[in-house]
């Protein structure tokens, strides 16, 4: 237990409380002063050793200071030097270190023998994994093995995984759970701009006048950033508009809440564009200089069948054709589709259209977990491109990310089947670039993408895939249409390795369980939503034989004969790997900061050029990569122009009908991190939100005589389950919709969800399927 060296501990704690308040006040009111006698004698840090790290949990990437005493992490506070959170932190962040000290932490490898897990040595477990992988490749070919990682992988974890599988083994069967959370954001960026990740940064919050949240419960999912919005409202009177399918804490805190029918955000976005053009609010010079217009294929399907494939065929169009297309999306017509009044559509359009109002659009899972996820990303960019409100401070379409390194590891390192650290496997020059740095023959890198996440689990079911290594993720809670994929893992001839820190439903299906070192028990880096790479040192020892995922992969790679490519020294391997990784991104468009810079400050944003982070890409005032002599240069596209996409509204693959008459939407809660395997082991968070529930609209609940706590039977075409009801509690869905959080492994709501996905991004839609609702 932490005890101060002062004799009067309570007095000391009170002084700490004053110090915390003064720090928060100074963050919110720069220059604020208190009387000298009040600031005197305040404690500095007790006898704790405070070290900086990015938070372990969400994609905001808050800087935290971790207090270490006698080899144990005992305290957390927001890092006042971090420009991300300015000393603030959310409830998960403040309890993050407690996630390391659960009673059932995995400390030793376990190998399944005769149906029972047997404790074994790390050497024996790693030997077994390497030999099983080699045996599988010999019997079934290199594309029968795979790795499924995570946006919670550190950058070195993902890098060595990609190098081993793509560069050495020669399979593109590398995926990560970020496919489930931000793949549509990636394809949205690539199709609109030719370059992934937001052009702006969190500083946009300090400049914007209006914030439009597109299906984004920011108060619960990105609470520190949302607190920055609320702070700006107190200081500058900014407006917050919540545009969603469910009333949440974000809606309650917003200035205006607008509800829409599921999937119709596509129609509303087009209606806003219609209004912008009809009212003459188009920034004509910006559009003429910096934009082109295209349309793609429609009626693409939903990926419901195995081995589904789709390739878009973009076709250039002119502005008149686009204008004609939008005539189907007048506010009055869209009111009937979306259930949003024409007045509210015009209200939103008026803010985007006002040249004197700076607008920031923010979104996350609502737009990305969408069977037309790429399209809705394109359409929100259209609004910003038509008005020229982009790449300038406060004018910012901003895709928020869910996980601490979904950007840093999955998108930038490229741990998706089609990706390389720089570029894509389909591109010969990109393959040559990677092969040279990896020191492997270029022929090793397969030019064809293989299995995206849903298809990877389908391949496991079919038997096309025989070996899967899962690290830092819990797919036996999070995969849609879960039962099919859980059953797949139990089939004969499948070998599953799971690296994690606690027992989960995913370790339950493993043949080998490896205990992993978590977060500050090892050294690493994360990359957050604003292109910021942040370093953390090893602060405490991992328990038992727990080992970092990076080193697990290196050990197996060496056992498989790739000693040359993985000749890193144990004491310096993170530095060696990061320096090697930086070589992939050299140049003005994606240069990464040197490690010594990351060690000395709370991160740096790429492109990092001439010792400086780039805050606003594509704007020549801020971005050294702009080279066309104009104010803006969308250099991700060969013609230097961003694309305004003609994309229609199309319905969801499964909508309510006579038998299954409700929408089912799933999501998260503020207290728990994703599948709850860490936060449910933190007592205060578990007590605050102990179990899953189903939210109903009060009118629906009254009609069915359901009260809070009553059991409700939910049935979809995939199965059924009983869940306690919540009426007028945390959130309120629209009539005809129910909402279930997915954090509770005892209520596996994904047994009911549908594995339909966006044909372009291959990201599943967890927000919409048809469900029957009955009082149990």
């Amino acid at each position: 237990m932490y005890t101060s060296t002062l004799t009067n501990r309570r007095s000391f704690i009170k002084k700490m409380a004053v110090l915390s308040a003064m720090t928060a006040a100074a963050t919110m009111f720069p220059g604020i002063m208190f009387a000298d006698e009040q600031e005197r004698n305040l404690p500095k840090s007790g006898n704790l050793d405070w070290k900086k790290a990015p938070c372990r949990f969400c994609g905001v990437g808050c800087g935290v200071l971790v207090g270490v005493e006698k080899g144990k992490a005992v305290a957390v506070k927001g890092d006042p030097k971090s420009t991300v959170n300015k000393g603030l932190c959310c409830v998960k962040g403040y309890h993050s270190v407690m996630a390391m000290y659960g009673k059932d932490r995995l400390k030793h490898p376990l190998v399944k023998k005769n149906g029972k897990y047997v404790k074994t040595s790390m050497k024996e477990a790693l030997d077994l994994i390497a030999s099983k992988m080699q045996e599988t490749i010999k019997d079934y070919g290199k594309n029968a093995v795979s790795i499924y990682g995570s946006g919670q992988w550190t950058i070195p974890d993902g890098y060595v995984a990609s190098k081993l599988f793509k560069g050495c083994i020669g399979t593109n069967n590398v995926e990560a759970n970020a496919r489930l959370c931000m793949a549509s954001a990636v394809t949205g960026f690539l199709t609109s701009f030719g370059s992934d990740e937001p052009m702006g940064c969190y500083e946009d919050i300090d400049h914007a006048d209006v914030f439009v949240l597109w299906g984004n419960n920011m108060a619960e999912m990105h609470p520190v950033l949302f607190s920055r919005l609320l702070d700006q409202r107190l200081k500058r009177g900014v407006k917050i508009i919540d545009f969603a399918t469910r009333t949440t804490r974000t809606s309650m805190a917003a200035d205006k809440s607008i509800l829409f029918k599921p999937n119709t955000d596509l129609a509303v976005a087009n209606a806003i564009c219609y209004e912008i053009i009809r009212n003459g609010w188009v920034n004509t010079s910006f559009v003429e200089k910096h934009c082109s217009l295209s349309k793609g294929l429609t009626n693409m399907g939903y990926g419901l069948e195995d081995k589904y494939s789709f390739k878009d065929k973009p076709e250039k169009i002119d502005f008149e054709a686009y204008k004609k297309f939008l005539e189907d999306y007048t506010p009055e017509k869209v009111e009937k589709i979306a259930g949003v009044s024409a007045k509210d559509i015009k209200y939103m359009a008026s803010y985007y259209g006002d040249p004197n109002t700076k607008v920031m659009s923010l979104w996350c899972m609502g737009m990305n977990q969408h069977t037309r996820g790429t399209w809705i990303n394109n359409l929100v960019y259209n609004i910003h491109l038509l008005t020229g409100k982009i790449s300038t401070p406060g004018n910012s379409p901003f895709s928020l990310t869910g996980q601490p390194s979904a950007c840093g590891t999955v998108r930038e390192v490229g741990t998706l089947t089609h990706k390389l650290p720089h570029g894509v496997v389909m591109n010969k020059a990109h393959r040559e670039h990677a092969a040279k740095i990896w020191d492997v023959p270029v022929e090793n890198i397969d030019p064809k993408p293989s299995l995206h996440t849903v298809e990877m689990f389908r391949a496991l079911d079919r038997g096309d895939l025989r070996f899967m290594w899962i690290q830092v993720t819990n797919p036996m809670v999070t995969m849609p249409k879960l039962k099919r994929y859980r059953d797949a893992t139990k089939k004969e001839g499948r070998f599953i390795v799971v690296s994690d820190i606690y027992p989960t439903p995913t370790t339950d299906i493993a043949d080998v369980i490896l205990p992993s070192a978590m977060w500050i028990e090892r050294e690493g880096m994360y990359g957050n939503s604003e292109r910021r790479t942040q370093y953390f040192e090893q602060m405490v020892q991992p328990p038992g034989e727990a080992m970092s995922d990076t080193w697990q992969l290196i050990e197996v790679a060496r056992r498989m004969g790739f000693e040359k490519q993985f000749a890193y020294k144990e004491e310096t391997h993170i530095e060696e790997i990061y320096n090697e990784y930086r070589r992939h991104h050299e140049g003005k468009k994606h240069g990464m900061a040197p490690l010594e810079v990351l060690k000395s400050q709370p991160g740096a944003m790429w492109p990092y050029v001439d010792g400086k982070s780039t805050q606003w890409r594509f704007n020549s005032t801020y971005d050294p990569a702009c080279s066309n002599g104009e104010d803006f240069h969308f250099y991700g596209k060969p013609d230097g122009k961003a694309v305004i996409w003609q994309r229609p509204y199309e319905p969801a693959p499964e909508e309510p009908d006579a038998e299954f008459d409700f929408w089912l939407c799933t999501g998260r809660v503020v207290e728990h991190w994703h599948s709850g395997s860490m936060t449910r082991r933190i007592p205060v968070l578990h007590r605050a939100m102990p179990e899953g529930y189903v939210e109903l609209h009060p009118a629906d609940a009254k009609r069915m005589q359901i009260r809070t706590g009553d059991l409700v039977k939910l049935t979809t075409r995939r199965g059924s389950m009983k869940i306690p009801a919540a009426v007028n509690q945390r959130g309120v869905p629209v009539k005809g919709q129910v909402f279930v959080p997915f954090f509770d492994e005892n209520i596996l709501i994904n047994d009911l969800t549908l594995d339909a996905f966006c044909p372009i991004s291959k990201q599943p839609d967890y927000k919409k399927c048809a469900v029957k609702v009955e009082k149990a």
Partner: protein, 101 residues
């Protein structure tokens, strides 16, 4: 293990359920007065037992630190705080779990 729990200002909007479940005998807040009511708020808070008040010298803001002995005393104090007319917003910043010496 004692974890320092600091909840940022404005989070009272976002975390009402958390406030109910964490027992924090020592808390600090940022107290925002209504326009022109800073001195009145300072005097009102200073008159309450178990409260220490530190006014900012150059901004309309006060720091409030409360130190209660029991849950019931904490609840009574919360009722008094919520009834203060001169206070526009009370945002909790930190809570410390501790024991008496």
């Amino acid at each position: 293990m004692t974890i320092v729990i600091e909840i940022p200002a404005f989070m009272s909007v976002i975390y009402p359920c958390i406030k109910k479940t964490i027992k924090m005998p020592i808390k600090s807040y940022l107290a925002h007065p209504h326009h022109g009511k800073k001195m009145e708020l300072y005097q009102t808070l200073s008159a309450l037992s178990k409260c220490e008040v530190i006014p900012a010298e150059n901004k309309d803001l006060l720091i409030l630190v409360t130190d209660t002995d029991s849950s019931s005393e904490e609840d009574r104090l919360q009722e008094k705080l919520q009834a203060i007319d001169s206070m526009k917003l009370l945002a909790m910043v930190s809570g410390f779990n501790t024991t008496k010496n």
